[in-house]
């Protein structure tokens, strides 16, 4: 009786934000490039700076980092037909990947980033990636707090004005408890 499901459905879900609004999260597809381009255009300078570090880089270079490809996994959050959040991992080694996360200003501090990060961690774990790495600007206090609050056992290394954080992608009971309290 059980039929088949499309692969993308495995990562699709509704996300209830802290203020009760609902966003739809799913894996990004090649045909989403226009929507991702519009999302990039709507990001604040601060968000671009925190996400890419080099806000002066050419538009196409930034855009390429957000588009889905064979070497990354991209999860997007949509509300009212527009992108409001983007999370991705980029394989950097046999079992490691770098992550990138950016949320539209109006939707920050509503629990969306935490949920997207949890979902890409699950996807990465299924993909054989056991460790996530991310480099965060010391000024990006919101992102630092979010990673800390997620409950992942993290290793932190300070490099100049940047912080390098490593954490496992496996979801243990402590991490699950942290998600539930988000």
């Amino acid at each position: 009786m059980v039929g088949t499901e499309t692969a993308s459905k495995r990562f699709s879900s509704d996300i209830v934000l802290r203020d009760g609004l609902v966003a739809y999260a799913r894996q990004a597809l090649p045909e989403d490039s226009r929507m991702i381009d519009e999302f990039l255009k709507s990001l604040s300078n601060e968000s671009i700076s925190f996400r890419f570090f080099d806000s002066a880089a050419e538009w196409q270079v930034l855009l390429r980092q957000l588009l889905p490809s064979t070497t990354n996994f991209v999860l997007i959050a949509i509300r009212e037909g527009s992108l409001i959040g983007h999370a991705a991992y980029y394989r950097s080694g046999k079992d490691t990947a770098e992550i990138g996360l950016v949320i539209l200003d109006a939707y920050q501090s509503k629990g969306l980033g935490t949920m997207l990060l949890e979902k890409i961690a699950r996807a990465a774990n299924e993909d054989g990636i056991s460790v996530f790495e991310t480099i965060i600007s010391q000024d990006n206090t919101r992102m630092i707090k979010m990673v800390q609050d997620m409950g992942f056992p993290t290793s932190v290394k300070v490099e100049s004005d940047l912080i390098r954080i490593r954490f496992p992608t496996s979801i243990d009971p402590i991490t699950i408890e942290s998600f539930q309290k988000r």
């Binding site: 059980v2 039929g3 088949t4 499901e5 879900s13 009760g20 609902v22 989403d32 998600f179």
Partner: protein, 336 residues
Amino acid sequence: MSEDVSFSFMTQCKFGISFGRDSLLYSFPEGNPMNKSRVKLFAQALEQTANQKNTSDLDERIRVIEPVACTDADLLVFHTKGYVELVKELSKTGEGYLNYNDTPAFKGVFEASLFLVGNTLNGLRCILEGRFDHFFNPIGGLHHASAEGARGFCVFNDSAIAISKALDEVKLRSVAYVDIDAHHGDGIYYEFEPDPRVIVGDIHEDGSNLYPGTGDETETGKGFGLGTKLNIPLPPGSSDKEFFEAFDRIEEFVLKAKPDLIFFQCGADGLAGDPISDLKYTAAAHAYATKKLHSLAHEICQGRILAMGGGGYNPVNVCVAWSAVIRELSGMNGRD
């Protein structure tokens, strides 16, 4: 609220509606769209009508009946034992996720779900015993739940359980499942994708912008079930006009299949103003679909329609859409 939400009891059909205090138990915490506040206006309208009925000489063939709980065994007709046990366990504390995804547990979720499923199964039983021609479980139609887990705020798939019982226990030849909720009924489609006995007609918002992202027009069933499913995704912003055209195709599809019973998931989240979907129907869409199905059911399957309320997260929309369903099934506006 300016919309007309009164119900008529002028009918030629026997029509049962299952609703009561226990219907409101299936309610995720405040802040979640699937909270009991979404059905409060509808509940008030129904209660008002029931009170009027008790003090007048109105037709007795429509009855509002109290919710009934199903058993664990009923759940196991469709769901796995492991999943049923998980829901039971998390229901004790109300903590945790039922799928580590988007559906949290709440205290008493298992017991609340027993009533939700029980109402739909009671409707099936009543229809098959001839006590009612049509039956409506407003809180039913949780079409995302799969056999192994919750999805999209749907814990147990009451429609899938009822369909399984209708086919495998009652031995109906075939059933139709018509779904006009804004979200694709993936929990029905994929579970019965290869089953030719389940005719599916589903109109929903295009999956590129809305959960669960499935229900493409190319998904028409598989194996022996190929050609027994009709998915019609509509672009965001679609109005009654697009809905009417799509529903005419559903009507023709169901008519050709001549099922023994019609399940009707009449989710109200396609109406303009819903906080989750981007469709722009009015309650006329619900009136149109119900009128067509009502007429069709009397033509091909002795009037047997089991309706379930499905989604809908704007309380006014929920009230006017479900009221339209009740008015049409009650026969107030006549049949086509």
